[in-house]
């Protein structure tokens, strides 16, 4: 018998040979990736387009048509005829490309019961007014029109006569009054009143004029109230805000059975207990939740039939929807929306790549753009890019009220220091690595196409890559001493000047990696950045406690900075990220009207005052104020912009080739609730 030693030797050498072969094979496989390849991509950035609201009565359709299954139900006597269902003043929409066909199921992916915005954006559009597809003009939606008095103190909103809830009950001004008097004024249900229902701190009033007219009355002029009604605000409709018991209106005929005023406290307590709840307020919120309660009547195009806290969130056609196309077809064309849960976003993206979704922009990762393009033919879809109008997807917010380290505080509050930091960042590098070159490098100012843009020169102001100038500025303010490795030293003798930069992981952009690149850029201007990635809730807590020096976060929403001011200036100290880090103590001062916190520097004070004032002045003066606000923001560089105007935030859109009326480009905005601005009720399936 051969000694074990001998067998072992050959066995082992064969084993090593096998390993070596595998290794070589792997190298060969990877070598193949060095070669350029790929099918031809398409023109990804199209022209901004979208459906339009028809207001010319002469063009209104005279007769109406409906979906085939509804025809059957009408025949069986289960539904009233279509002309009675769409109201006497239906919303007439001219689809962007053509009249569509009925039928089909829209497949989407969502990430779990916390992803209700997914449904709001695609399907829950019952805002009183609306942003049109340009994102800058207010259009009718639930209301067919509005009127502002000359002094701006009274805003009248006209509803549609004969409009109905999804269960056939009439939708009237009574639903607004019910919300205002029985829900909003009830301090148990809504203990904190809505800021946007006040002007200059004085709350407004809502009153019924007649069954289809509602009037808002304010003590001071409030011209911007119309924008508030069009935006995703606390008055943004029952689908969007019902779960918080705000929104502006609520189904009276349904909710009154849960309200003590109408059925008595005992009856309500019994219902609450029977539902396994222990708290009436919680119970009410659950009942009024558009994504959670299939019995809640609604006026949106699709109604939840299987709620969000199950593996599939299903929404089905609302037979009483008040929108029609120019040919008289009652919308929506699409019968059903099915969202399947995918908790892991990599898997969600891979499913989109595989073509398992029909229209998906939410959770789509811009870093995977090449893979999406590669699989367009296989997945039978097309990739569109919808750049946002906000200036920076990764802004650096520098804390002006930081006080834990006086030396750092001194420099953060020094405008030249901030400008030098900004000039030290090589934005083209960041754009290439993380935005695949699709973003626009520059400051945090909103897009030039917005009426509030102060001018194209503000895009590059203080926001180019100029290390020479940066070094010069830093030398000129007194940071002249450097250590052996070239880093600037503190003036108080305590060693190197280090800025602590906080990032949050797991977001739509790789903030920490972006911070790493910025750290390398700052080496050349002698500033050391210490990067620390922390968990989001912890970041929120520390921000509010004024502990952060600098933070990287997005400034989305600032394209509509009146309704989304959070990243423009320190608007609120608690439960916020981003803008709050410009100065949490300033935020407290702002919120408490000067009684708490710290008084802001003169430019910030001016900005805050202008912002508040803008709500009460007419449009053209508001635009002037808005431009001046942005001028100050860019000149002061409290927030350093890097790269923005990009499709990174929900702007990479995968659309099945089977869908029609898909705009080539959408206005990408949280306030507009994109794709709402493209009226998904007009999307249809070609086959």
């Amino acid at each position: 018998m051969r000694g074990p030693w001998q067998i072992r030797k050959t066995g082992e050498s064969r084993w090593w040979l096998a390993v070596a072969l595998c290794f070589l094979a792997a190298c060969g496989w990877m070598g193949g990736y060095a070669v350029a390849a790929g099918p031809a991509g398409s023109d990804l950035l199209g022209k901004l387009e979208g459906p339009e609201v028809v207001t010319d009565l002469a063009q209104f359709p005279k007769s109406f048509k409906e979906a085939p299954q509804l025809v059957e139900l009408v025949k069986a006597g289960k539904l009233p005829p279509v002309q009675e269902r769409v109201s006497q003043d239906p919303l007439v929409i001219k689809p962007v490309h053509e009249t569509g066909k009925y039928g089909g199921t829209w497949r989407r992916g969502f990430s779990g019961p916390a992803d209700f915005w997914n449904g709001y954006r695609c399907c829950g559009h019952d805002k009183i007014l609306f942003w049109d597809y340009t994102g800058n003009k207010v259009a009718p939606n639930v209301a067919k029109g509005w009127e502002i008095s000359d002094d701006g103190r009274t805003i009248t909103v006209f509803l549609r006569k004969g409009m109905k809830w999804s269960d056939g009950h009439p939708f009237t001004a009574d639903d607004f009054v019910f919300w205002y008097e029985d829900i909003y004024q009830n301090n148990e249900l809504v203990p904190v009143k809505i800021p946007v229902l006040s002007i200059n701190g004085k709350p407004g009033k809502m009153e019924k004029v007649d069954d289809s007219t509602i009037r808002f009355k304010f003590e001071d002029p409030y011209f911007a109230f119309v924008d508030v009604l069009a935006g995703a605000t606390d008055l943004g409709g029952n689908a969007l805000r019902g779960r918080e018991l705000t929104g502006g209106f609520a189904p009276k005929h349904y909710l009154q059975q849960f309200h003590p005023k109408y059925v008595g406290k005992e009856a309500v307590d019994k219902l609450v207990k029977a539902a396994g709840q222990d708290n009436w307020v919680n119970f009410m919120k659950l009942k009024n939740d558009w994504s959670l309660n299939p019995e809640l009547p609604t006026i949106t195009a699709w109604k939840t039939t299987t709620p969000i806290n199950t593996p599939t969130w299903v929404l089905e056609r609302n037979p009483y929807f008040y929108m029609v196309d120019t040919a008289g077809n009652q919308l929506p064309y699409i019968d059903k929306v099915i969202m399947t849960v995918t908790e892991n976003l990599e898997v969600l993206n891979l499913r989109a790549i595989a073509g398992e979704y029909d229209f998906q922009a939410r959770h789509i990762d811009i870093g995977k753009l090449p893979v999406f393009l590669e699989n367009q033919v296989k997945g039978n879809y097309k990739v569109y890019l919808d750049p946002a109008d906000s200036g920076c997807d990764a802004c650096m917010f520098l804390n002006q009220t930081y006080d834990a380290d006086p030396e750092i505080a001194k420099w953060l509050q020094n405008r030249d220091f901030r400008i030098a930091l900004s000039l030290g960042i090589d934005r083209d590098q960041l754009n290439e690595a993380f935005w695949l070159g699709v973003g626009t490098p520059g400051s945090q100012v909103l897009a030039e196409s917005s009426p509030y843009s102060p001018g194209p020169e503000y895009r590059t102001m203080h926001s180019t890559h100029d290390p020479a100038k940066a070094n010069q500025l830093l030398d000129s303010i007194g940071l002249t001493k450097k250590d052996a490795e070239g880093y600037r030293l503190r003036t108080d003798g305590k060693g190197r000047l280090r800025i602590e930069l906080i990032t949050v992981g797991g977001q739509f952009l790789q903030f920490t990696q972006i911070a790493e690149m910025i750290r390398e850029h700052w080496r050349k201007i002698g500033i050391q950045a210490d990067i620390s990635e922390i968990e989001r809730s912890l970041a929120i807590t520390r921000s509010g406690a004024n502990e952060l020096q600098a933070q990287l976060w997005q400034n989305d929403g600032t394209e509509h900075f009146f309704t989304f001011p959070g990243h423009l200036f320190p608007f609120q100290a608690e439960n916020a990220l981003g803008g709050v880090n410009m100065g949490p103590l300033w935020a407290r001062w702002f919120r408490s009207n000067g009684t708490q916190g710290k008084e802001p520097s003169p430019p910030m004070k001016k900005l805050m005052e202008m912002w508040k004032k803008a709500f009460g002045v007419p449009q053209d003066e508001r635009i002037k104020l808005g431009k001046e606000i942005w001028r100050i923001a860019v000149e002061e560089q409290w927030a350093i912009g890097t790269v923005g105007l990009s499709p990174a935030a929900q702007g990479v859109r995968i659309v099945s080739n089977n869908m029609g009326n898909i705009p080539a480009r959408q206005y990408n905005s949280p306030d507009g609730m994109t794709p709402a601005t493209s009226r998904p009720e007009t999307f249809f399936f070609k086959k």
Binding site: P4, I7, R8, T10, G11, E12, R14, W15, R107, G112, P113, A114, W117, P191, V192, A232, G276, N279, V281, N282, L286, L292, T306, N309, T310, P311, T312, I338, T340, V341, T342, E343, N344, E346, V347, L348, L350, R351, I353, A354, E356, E535, R536, S537, L538, I540, T541, D556, G557, F564, G566, F571, Q572, A573, E574, N575, A576, L577, R591, P670
Partner: protein
């Protein structure tokens, strides 16, 4: 024997109570609570929540009470069989977990079967043909399965399955079968999706089992009775399978109690990567959101399963191996 079981049972109950306290404490460890993470979600979509609203939410969810009060309330409910309502899912915890428990058990069961199918033949072969080429090859393969980080493997296999076989991506069901009632075609769909995670999960356990089986079998094969069996003319296969293998498998049977809790927690990462509707990802999300009742119940469940597993294993061991009984 009975006294032994009773004693272990009492101690088990005590252990479970300690685990409940520890689980509750762990969940409360991170700063903030469910409301903090709920607000973080709202805030990332532009909704501003003021401090007063946050306080209000806390009172609503009962999160403004001191910790021991919250723990006492939770324990009292649990003892009555009411595991509370998940703050994130807004459904009773039993419903949320219940949906997934069956699938978790199925996945665990399939992984264990795969592991045994792979490990037992390899273990026997490598013990019988010790130091041969085959021994080294299969041992190495088994160990590579242990060493490869299985989350990476999961992603790669999932992508390759999609790219080259057009398989539907991740999960345990195709979209049309997710909510469907049980039927033969649904079972088939499940099996089509189940093999990827089961194989990935089994790779880690295989090496361990091979090693143990090999060591045990080697010990047994040197014993005199095997020599006797061969001398008496028993065929090689029978001589190995009839007694040595059965003795070598003893430890497996006694450790079977550990498998379920081990697989539930050990499969968390793979389940997350493949987006499987099992208990693992549910636990992770609940912990991140600090969804107290859901997280607490799952952790308690895992702890209880481990204790029961230990108990079963100990009892089995005592039952199978008379030497231990005598020692006690």
């Amino acid at each position: 024997m009975l006294a032994y079981i009773l004693r272990r049972l009492l101690i088990a109950i005590g252990t479970v109570w300690v685990i409940s306290v520890v689980s509750f404490a762990i969940i409360q460890l991170p700063p903030g609570d469910y409301v903090t993470s709920y607000i973080a979600q709202l805030m990332s979509t532009g909704t501003m929540v003021t401090q007063e609203e946050a306080e209000n939410l806390r009172a609503q969810y009962g999160l403004d009470q001191p910790i021991y009060v919250q723990y006492a309330k939770w324990m009292w409910q649990v003892l009555q069989g009411n595991f509370g309502v998940s703050m994130e899912w807004k459904r009773p915890v039993t419903e949320v977990i219940g949906d997934r428990l069956l699938l978790t058990a199925l996945l665990a069961f399939t992984a264990v079967i795969f592991t045994w199918i792979l490990a037992i033949p390899i273990g026997i072969y490598s013990a019988v043909r010790q130091y041969s080429v085959g021994d080294y090859v299969v041992t190495c393969m088994g160990f590579i399965g242990l060493a490869v980080p299985n989350f990476l493997l999961a992603l790669v296999i999932m992508y390759l399955a999609f790219a080259y076989f057009g398989a539907s991506v991740g999960g345990l069901f195709s979209p049309e079968y997710i909510d469907a009632p049980w039927s033969w075609s649904r079972v088939q769909d499940l099996l089509k999706h189940l093999w990827i995670p089961a194989i990935i999960l089994s790779t880690a356990g295989t090496a361990q089992l091979i090693r143990i089986l090999r060591a045990n079998l080697l010990d047994e094969l040197r014993k005199p009775y095997v020599v006797t069996a061969r001398a008496k003319g028993l065929s090689e296969l029978r001589a190995i399978l009839k007694y040595p293998v059965r003795v070598a498998l003893n430890p497996f049977i006694s450790t079977v109690g550990y498998t379920l809790p081990f697989l539930v927690s050990g499969s968390i990462i793979v389940s997350i990567v493949l987006s499987l509707p099992t208990v693992g990802p549910l636990l992770l999300k609940a912990l991140l959101a600090q969804d107290m009742f859901l997280a607490g119940t799952i952790v308690l469940l895992l702890g209880v399963m481990t204790v029961i597993g230990t108990l079963i294993s100990d009892i089995l061991l005592v039952w199978i191996d008379p030497r231990i009984r005598l020692e006690e």
